[in-house]
Subunit: 454 residues, 2 copies
């Protein structure tokens, strides 16, 4: 039966790409309240699409941006899968660095360029397109499906955990599939069996209650930017070792076996992919080991004082820094936030006040058993469509929902990702390869049939 | 004769304040190119006013913003004074912190509120108003006057030195008067006999060539904000001692006598004036000693990465910091810039590239002889109008032109300032007390007559 479905996908490729472009053209930026209406529009697009292909679908209020729920439960003889994805995207700034408009999708050099093309609207769309192909050719899907499409993933899925808990029955299924990750190289079948957790804080240092003339008051008060620099510099040393007391407590050491596995993965050239002068990683670990299996602390943004042309001779009143940590198994995000806060308060010099805001969207790290049959079927499906052996990796990224589904439902979770390292997630010129679009949908078709066949 | 002049100033007070408001209403922000036309308008206002009161006046091109030159040379029997001031102002941001519009001057609680009210348009205006009073009542001034009003003081007087050098004859005079400083307390006669120098740099740290997903690349590349924090934190320790090698070379030690003098000056309460939790100063020096007589290093602004609402999990491509140092006698600004650059390059960690931009507007520090007759006459004039003994102080601020006039003309320079510590120079809600406006003009009337009388 897969033959007709695959043929449909090939014959309708152009229309499907056009339909995808409509979806990507909606600037559903979740962190910026000025895009509230675009978020609604993106959710409506999904509800409509799901209804067109025979799902029961609706927007559900979460207290924040709506969640799109859809269900197809016509197969008494088949298992039920919970499919998670998100329709919100990261901000597009800095806009001037985009070669084409972030929300005017264009195809060039075999890639589709737009914010969300890979993370995660493009991958969500592939699932719906595959369902469409089944319904239009076979009139039914091989499995039962519950769809959970979120609008707050890029702002830490603020309301999702409470929502899943409150609607536990609604989302219960035999297993979950999430396509919000990538392959380690284009057309390299990849199963992600580990994810990092996340903990975020914002530090604001306040000195004087207004900007001061640096001549009149320089020498009498503490400069809040300098105070913030001392605090930040005390959190990670030049060996990339986090120096916040207790940060590494409970982190399981990297086994020789796992280090071998990581070394064998055909990885990307980090310096080439990032344009950095050279790679830098935690003392005693390779960049591959650090990104996949060791915790990180990154400053995501900083601001304070004068940012305009020329010089302005002031002592500013305030300075702010945003920090996120990627965590590994054994680290509790709430505890890490607390350790960071204690460190900041402890290292703050006199003459300033320091405020630490604990951001929402914390997540524990997650690891699954690579040998689970549902994961093995995924590996086989990849290999069938891409003609290569599947590799198993841990990912530096965080998908809070993975930990939460595990926590609330304790069901197997399969991470079926089709992105590539060149996709520039969260950066200007995000894109998604049309190869992944085609081969990914083919992989999904094989997978649903393997899952359906007892 | 001073009687008529003073009477004129009293009787025309309202009209003069209205005329001052017109001047302050022009947003002549020199650092921001979008205000180019406002700069021209402010210069035109001055040329017109000078011509109205019988000066020969014109705008002179400098290569940057125009300089307003005016001359009154009708008195063969009197000395000639070179009067310097500036008509450009600091940016008004952060705008939301102003209680009234920065360029819609209003009077409340005995103060006139507007950007430039004190620094320096208000004080420039007082001189012209006094000249107007003389011409309208006596038909002449007691002294010959050459007026040099600059439009680039707040951006480091980029073109002034070359201009003064090129037009040496034009500006030559018997002595110079500058009203761009303040009194240490309202109605406390103050002679500034020392000024600090200035050296400015901008540091930009670049890591990856685009913003990166902190999950995909955290652990593989250096975070440019963290690298910048390490560099900045290494420039000044928590004791407020600058740790840049060679920074204090050539700085003359503070004599016990000068420390006593400084201790006796009725100073302001720095914590109260700034709203800082407590004062902080260089180890071994009081805040008064540090601000007046010890060099400082301040970070004026910093930016990099995400500054919007919520969190954005990126490793940014770049981070930038703006730094200015206030210098004391013995420190050469160019050398200080070089030391800062060497320090930054030396402390920059691997994995990033660092660019140091040496900003224009450097100035050497300056000290004058407090016992010079022209300065004594100023002290007597203050005392006559304000009824208090004059105190002699060194100022933390920098007025490059003072050093340049000294350097090029070697003429005595008298700093006749009328600002107060509450004026909020360079900050939101800048203002100038009407007391200083009235008493300052009275002081100027007395001064010109003392100077004229052999």
């Amino acid at each position: 039966m897969s033959h007709n479905v695959l043929t449909y996908l090939q014959e309708n490729r152009e229309q499907l790409l056009e339909k995808l472009k409509e979806f990507l053209a909606i600037p559903s930026v979740s962190t910026d309240s000025s895009h509230r209406n675009d978020i609604q529009q993106a959710a409506d697009y999904l509800v409509t699409y799901l209804q067109e292909i025979g799902f029961k679908a609706e927007k559900m209020p979460t207290g924040g941006h709506p969640l799109v729920y859809g269900e197809y439960l016509a197969r008494e003889d088949a298992p039920t899968v919970l499919l998670y994805g998100h329709y919100d995207v990261q901000p597009a700034d800095p806009l001037e660095e985009w070669e084409s408009e972030p929300f005017q999708p264009v195809i060039r050099n075999g890639r589709i360029y737009a914010r969300g093309a890979s993370d995660d609207k493009g991958q969500v769309f592939m699932h719906l397109a595959v369902f469409e192909a089944y319904m239009k050719t076979e009139g039914k899907l091989p499995v039962n499906v519950k769809v959970c499409l979120e609008g707050e993933e890029e702002i830490g899925s603020k309301n999702l955990y409470a929502f899943l808990e409150k609607n536990k029955e609604l989302f219960s299924a035999d297993f979950a599939v999430i396509s919000d990750s990538g392959m380690i190289a284009k057309n390299q079948p990849t199963i992600v069996y580990g994810l990092k957790g996340l903990a975020a804080i914002e530090i604001t240092v306040t000195g004087p209650d207004h900007d001061l003339h640096s001549g009149a008051y320089g020498g009498a008060v503490r400069n809040p930017i300098m105070a913030l620099s001392h605090i930040l510099a005390s959190m990670k040393n030049k060996d990339e070792v986090v120096t916040v007391e207790g940060f590494y407590d409970g982190v399981e050491p990297l086994s020789e076996d796992e280090r071998k596995k990581i070394a064998q993965i055909p990885g990307e050239d980090f310096a080439e992919a990032t344009g950095a002068p050279e790679t830098v990683s935690e003392k005693g670990y390779t960049p591959e080991e650090h990104t996949m299996a060791r915790p990180t602390l990154e400053i995501n943004g900083i601001y304070g004082g004068y940012q305009g042309e020329g010089t302005k001779t002031i002592i500013p009143s305030k300075a702010t820094a945003k920090i996120t940590c990627r965590l590994v198994p054994g680290q509790d995000p709430k505890r890490i936030q607390k350790l960071l806060e204690e460190h900041v308060q402890k290292t703050a010099p006199k003459g300033v006040t320091v405020e630490v805001k604990k951001e929402s969207g914390s997540a524990k790290a997650y690891k699954v058993e690579p040998n689970h049959p549902l994961i093995q079927k995924a590996a086989e499906s990849y290999t069938k469509s891409l003609g290569k052996e599947t590799v198993y990796v841990r990912m530096g990224g965080s998908i809070p929902v993975v930990e939460w589904i595990d926590d609330i439902y304790d069901m197997p979770i399969v991470l079926l990702g089709f992105g590539t390292p060149e996709d520039r997630l969260h950066s200007p010129n995000e894109s998604f390869p049309l190869d992944s679009f085609d081969k990914g949908m083919e992989t999904l078709v094989y997978y649903w049939e393997k899952v359906a066949s007892k």
